[in-house]
């Protein structure tokens, strides 16, 4: 079980709602895939018309599955990036490169109880959690907050699962988050995955209710993180300057011109791509650097962060 990249083939693709596409991916050569854990993600290399995208998607297949990986991809409105490519161009039989599964959102094995709060497509990591908890017999509850017309979209993966509640924005259907958080016993762990505003709200309420920080876990997603105004970056070691477009990240621009940069999550969480910033002012959008490190202005995570001033100089 040693390797870095996988060549996958699209075995099935179908729309489960107007904005959601479900993909089933198998090894292109018919071999077995590496098993993966609950909460794992798969990074796909998507060769779009304008450029290459590397997007990470939560695996919703059962943990340990070796025959196929499954993901659900939401079409990001006005996207010209990876999600548009998957929705408009990818078809059954196409071949994709991918990294081996990574995991930045694994369930905590010592938890007495797992409380999951999902916003819309943020349910995807929890679909693999449910299969894991069913095997281990863990105590859990899943609360899905979504639009009323989306309430049945995920039924195929929730069938037969107890302790799943669906909430939407109408009287009698809203989730009372403060009451839910206040009622949890010692040993509970809270996981939240949804739009940034919902994540922030849940995290604030949990802190206010006295939840220990090590019992609260959040997976950030949303491609809105990486785009912004175009800027320029000078890579001091390589001696090249690169233009970063509106809809690409600094990391993608660095990769586009062939400079090697290490990375893992591509979402500002893991810190693997952290790079010394020699000059310029960064617009930090990561979840990794401490407040003091941001203040000092000597480091940047190029996977999500951008320039506040016109030009950055990186030690790369």
């Amino acid at each position: 079980m040693i390797g870095e990249t996988l060549t996958l083939k699209v075995a099935a693709a179908c729309a489960i709602s107007p904005s959601l596409r479900h993909l089933r991916l198998v090894a292109a050569d018919g071999s077995k895939l590496p098993p993966a854990a609950a909460g794992a993600h798969l990074q796909l290399v998507l060769n779009g018309a304008a450029r290459t995208h590397r997007n990470a998607y939560s695996l919703i297949s059962r943990p340990g599955a070796r025959d196929a990986y499954e993901i659900i991809v939401r079409r990001v409105p006005a996207s010209r990036g990876g999600s548009a490519f998957i929705h408009e161009q990818l078809k059954v039989g196409d071949v994709l490169e991918a990294g081996w599964p990574g995991n930045l959102f694994a369930p905590v094995r010592t938890a007495r109880r797992h409380l999951m709060i999902a916003g819309g497509i943020g349910i995807t990591p929890f679909l693999s959690y449910l299969a894991d908890f069913a095997f281990g017999g863990a105590d859990y509850a899943l609360h899905l907050c979504c639009r009323e017309d989306e309430q049945h979209v995920f039924d195929p993966w929730l069938a037969g699962k107890s302790s799943v509640s669906v909430h939407w924005d109408a009287d009698g259907h809203r989730l009372d988050i403060p009451a839910l958080l206040a009622a949890q016993p010692v040993g509970s762990h809270l996981y939240v995955c949804g739009p940034a505003a919902m994540n922030d709200e849940v995290l604030e309420l949990a802190a206010a209710a006295g939840w220990p920080a090590s019992h609260v876990h959040c997976e950030h997603f949303g491609s809105a993180l990486s785009g912004g105004e175009a800027f320029r970056a000078f890579l001091a070691k390589s001696g090249v300057e690169v233009s970063v477009g509106e809809d690409e990240s600094l990391l993608e621009a660095i990769e586009r011109i062939g400079v090697k940069a290490s990375c893992l999550c591509r979402g500002g969480a893991c810190g693997v791509c952290v790079t010394p910033l020699l000059d310029g002012e960064a617009d930090h959008r990561d979840h990794y650097l401490s407040a003091a490190e941001r203040e000092a202005g000597r480091l940047i995570l190029p996977c999500v962060s951008r320039a506040r001033s016109g030009r950055l100089v990186l030690d790369l």
Partner: protein
Amino acid sequence: MLHSDIKSRPTYTQLEPDLSGSQHLLIVEGDTVLPGRLDSLAGTFAPVEENLHTWLVGTQAGGLGLGKVWRLPGVADVVDAFACATRGYGIGDRLYVQGTEPFLWSVAKAAAIIGFSAEQIHLHHAGSLRRRVWCTHCHTVTEDVTTSIASCAGCHRHLLVRDHFSRRLGAFMGVMVDAEAPGEVPAVEESFA
């Protein structure tokens, strides 16, 4: 000897209420209460008194201003009270413990067994520095060790008491001091009085 360069050696804090907590439980080992200390604790915990329970262990000392007060005879009763807890504890609850190291870790371990996280538990060392020592060779626990070298209550070997500490066992490691040259036992010092 309350501080050590060894990273497994716990460090302790002064007790003060964590205002983000919802219910607060204060457990005090009676022997370690100096005159006036309970009044001082009552002052410190006044901001959360409405949601405060205090367990006074092995003492008849007063408990004015410490919320709902229970008296328990010994640490074994504290452990039992956690083990048989009929009222569930909440994820927002906080536990504060004052006592000697063996007491602190007996309580912390009993609380951890029912799900308390380390972040919910605040430990304040008071009283004697005596140690609980786990014999690496026969796995017997020897209580109330105050010397740098102690005789194991199980196998009677002379154990050098190291600073390496196991939170799971609530004990320091004891290793035979004269294994390489039997009978060569260094001078015993009163280190943890």
